[in-house]
Amino acid sequence: MEQSEVVQLEHHENKNEVRNVTIVLTVLTLIELGLGFAMMKMTPGSFGVMASKITIIVLMLAKAYYIVGYFMHLKHEVRNLIMTIIVPLALFIWFIAAFLYDGNSFRNLRNNNDRHFKEQSEIKVEKKEHKSGSHNDATHKEEVKPAVHQ
């Protein structure tokens, strides 16, 4: 009697849980996509773009939490098991911060000390409007060569 009650409770909790988590994931994805569309109208590099990107990253982490916690059932596992997964993954915080900082530093150092590198990014390719529809590589291919450096 008692056991079936427990099973019943678990079953009920799971029944809505799947639906609810699915809805949450869908909503989070739609918000991310909405921000993606909104960013297209914003000036590149502006505060709006930065804020949107950070929000998207936060939403992405929220989705990860729901998928791992509920779909992969980790939230319902023994606490120490959760820890053996989450604690090593916390290494990622340092991993990401350190490498992005390093990449950025590399860019700054090159821009300041490598004239060729800086100038490469300043040569703009003359953009030609692309006709919409199917592509045919053979028809229009104009090679644009950057100016030769002394």
Binding site: V18, T29, G36, H73, L81, F99, H130
Partner: protein, 229 residues
Amino acid sequence: MSTATTAQPKWWNGGKSPFNVEYGKLMMWYFLMSDAFTFGAFLIAYGTVRFSTNGWPDPNEVFQSFPGLGDGLPLMFVSLMTFILIISSVTMVLAVKAGHENNKQKVVTNLIWTIIGGAAFLGCQAWEWSHLHHAGAWWGRIDTSATSHFLNADGSMPSTNFSNFFFTITGFHGFHVLSGVVINIVMLIMTLNDTFEKRGHYLMIEKAGLYWHFVDLVWVFVFTCFYLI
């Protein structure tokens, strides 16, 4: 040795699984952790190179096609792919749940839907690759002409870093989707052959489920890094 307290759990005499979890399930979790670090390393390498470069292609210029509907539809196709994978994850959760209820028919139905979802995703990814290839991108190659979709957002010449990272990371992910679909097909065959009925539990489906959710999770990160930010 001690004859005193019976409240002490017997840790070392067997019969108790660490974390109350089956060995195979624990090992699957630790494998997924290692795979997470592999994918993480790839994505962080991508981020590092991107941060170290002045110009980078605009994803809304590169990824703007939809099969059958032509160009000018940024984010549409990748939204469809993401949706397909999320739904296939949901059907996988339902398959695992059906396994807990020992409902063989429901397990079969949901596994079939999951396999279809995975195969559809692979088809979509194949189309995306083919389309980008025809537009002039591949490992070691990127269209640098004046009409290229791949021109950097700041107008400068794109480098093959973009295409190399894109095909490598989405390829590695696609490989995981493929192996996941194969595993799910094997699960389906085993279910149909009553392997789990005879065992008395569907724990194997749960392990396959963990792998499949991991594949979905990685896509969440890959899609965000390449298409959104």
